[in-house]
Symmetry: C2
Subunit: 392 residues, 2 copies
Amino acid sequence: MINFDFCSPTRFIFGRGVEKQVGATAAQFGAKKVLIQYGGGSVKKSGLLDTVTASLREAGIAYVELGGVQPNPRVSLVREAIELCRKEGVDLILAVGGGSVIDSCKATGLGYYYDGDVWDFYCGKATPAKTLPVGVVLTLAAAGSEGSNSSVITNEAIHMKRGLNCELTRPAFALMNPELTFSLPAYQTACGAVDIMAHAMERYFTNTPHVELIDRMIEALIKTVMHNAPVLMENPSDYEARAEIMWAGTLAHNNLLGTGRECDWASHQLEHELSGIYDVAHGAGLAVVIPAWMKYVYKHDIARFAQFAVRVMDVEMDFFDPEKTAREGIRRLEAFYTSIGMPITLKELGVPTDRLKEMADNCKETDPSDHSTGHFIRLTHADCYEVYKLMA
Amino acid sequence: MINFDFCSPTRFIFGRGVEKQVGATAAQFGAKKVLIQYGGGSVKKSGLLDTVTASLREAGIAYVELGGVQPNPRVSLVREAIELCRKEGVDLILAVGGGSVIDSCKATGLGYYYDGDVWDFYCGKATPAKTLPVGVVLTLAAAGSEGSNSSVITNEAIHMKRGLNCELTRPAFALMNPELTFSLPAYQTACGAVDIMAHAMERYFTNTPHVELIDRMIEALIKTVMHNAPVLMENPSDYEARAEIMWAGTLAHNNLLGTGRECDWASHQLEHELSGIYDVAHGAGLAVVIPAWMKYVYKHDIARFAQFAVRVMDVEMDFFDPEKTAREGIRRLEAFYTSIGMPITLKELGVPTDRLKEMADNCKETDPSDHSTGHFIRLTHADCYEVYKLMA
């Protein structure tokens, strides 16, 4: 186990009807005037926005609204939100939505106290010093942004998507009612499940020895998602399955499962290039990337991949051929993705293979000193190209 | 899954040498003058207290010291500590020790802002409104108080030991170096392991259906403790095993593993009566209580006890006789306790059987409305007596 520093101060209020507590909760955090950000019109149509504003009014909290946050949240809207907060004297930002809306709010909170352009934080030109508090009413189980320290913003003018890890951006509170996810289409639910599992797997495949507790907890989380996602393919309104997956989504990414270990993150970089060029859903992209990445790297630590196969994928250990056990684990992961309607090849994803080299060369380097991506194995751009080819 | 409200804001700084960060960390929390509480002289002998005070001086933080916190921390010392804090203008309390020292500091922090007697909080006469922040340098993996909302204080004048659950008492930060636990005697290490497992099991045995994620996470934690505690019986200085158990100790009791479910806590009440009369270590008492409690209640939910047996105790499921599977799980838990030198009967614990009825009648009622203890099964005083008899 390696040394760590972990703090997840977010207050999670979870269960049926908790969105009605938003006014009282915001008041406990001292809010007098709130900026509500949301995405498309679904929170209006569903009546959720009305519930939220009624609760705020009841708590004597004023509010302004800003809709139109897009799936890859734009820095232009963030800039607009920052101006609105300043003009209106907002003291808390409320995200009503999923990861994109939350990330837009996180960026707004950081930009509020900064004299320069908020993009400076995302391109590495400046470090945030302070933030407005962010509250969340979650409508999607996937990104885990409701409990994480990360946000991803797109600068549409220069076609650049950049992430920021910053402890200041952990939300102050998150209201999580699994019922609010009943109406999600099956495809989006499946994408969410893949994303949640990916956050756990990026942490699982590590070179750090002696990480038993967190290994086992990650296994617990992935098994739970794999057990409950198929239930939702049959019955999208199964409360218990929605609840398991929603809480798993938070715990997969608040970095409890990253404590004491080096994490990988190559698969996320490979997927970012994919969805950067082709407009594919992040989860669907990950379902294609991860098995390919696994096939490329598993020989680096057959014992760990065999453990994954046996403990998570219920493969029977072949003691005389651990490598075969490891490969069977990867095969079963692919079979699982397929079973919930996810693609496992570029073809199934609808992506052509003529720009693989370009994507490989653009893959963000985790360690610029040796131009490598990921930690489990440090992939060169040439390695990335090989991984992309395995997706064909 | 039932609704929940969970917030664990403590900052955990974990690993080799982290105690040297205490000054810098306390400064980040705005500390100007600290009260250091500790127990016997071991932190002096080991040099830990010198390390802590040197770090505080380096950060420009003044301090006063108060040693002598006893294993069942006394309210008289807490009162003394409160006076000291007021007289000296202390703004942060630092616990250097294990659960008892931390609990004494938690009570001190609450009492500081209260005009009446701090015992009022523990006997239910008053509710805390504010606290001084508490920091921790942990020297013992067991009680989990470094991350929990609970504290237990003894009023020696009236022979009463009472617990308080209060979100205000979650520590601001905890510095956790597993090396600081190398010198613990095997018996105390084993007691700690039993206590940690008990915190997980009190949450595991629930009537709440559909709690898969947390079930699996609890199983992960108990298995990890069972795997690593025996390592320490052989080699008390095994860093990795100490680290697994220390982090497990925190996660077993910060109530992450209680989210979404009703918990039991009857075994803790039964043990409190035992250690209240006879001076036995809490962990050793629990090793005697828990198997007896299990034997008395397992028929209430054979499926859950079979799941525990199979997933935690590695019992092979007997599909034609789940009850036998459940019983074998309990037997293996007893065998585990025995293997790490823990007692599993009152006789082995050195406790006579002539006051069992008295202890049963004194068992703290979890629900005064029906005079019952625990939730998995609501034990009457007569039930408690039967459980005690099973320990003979």
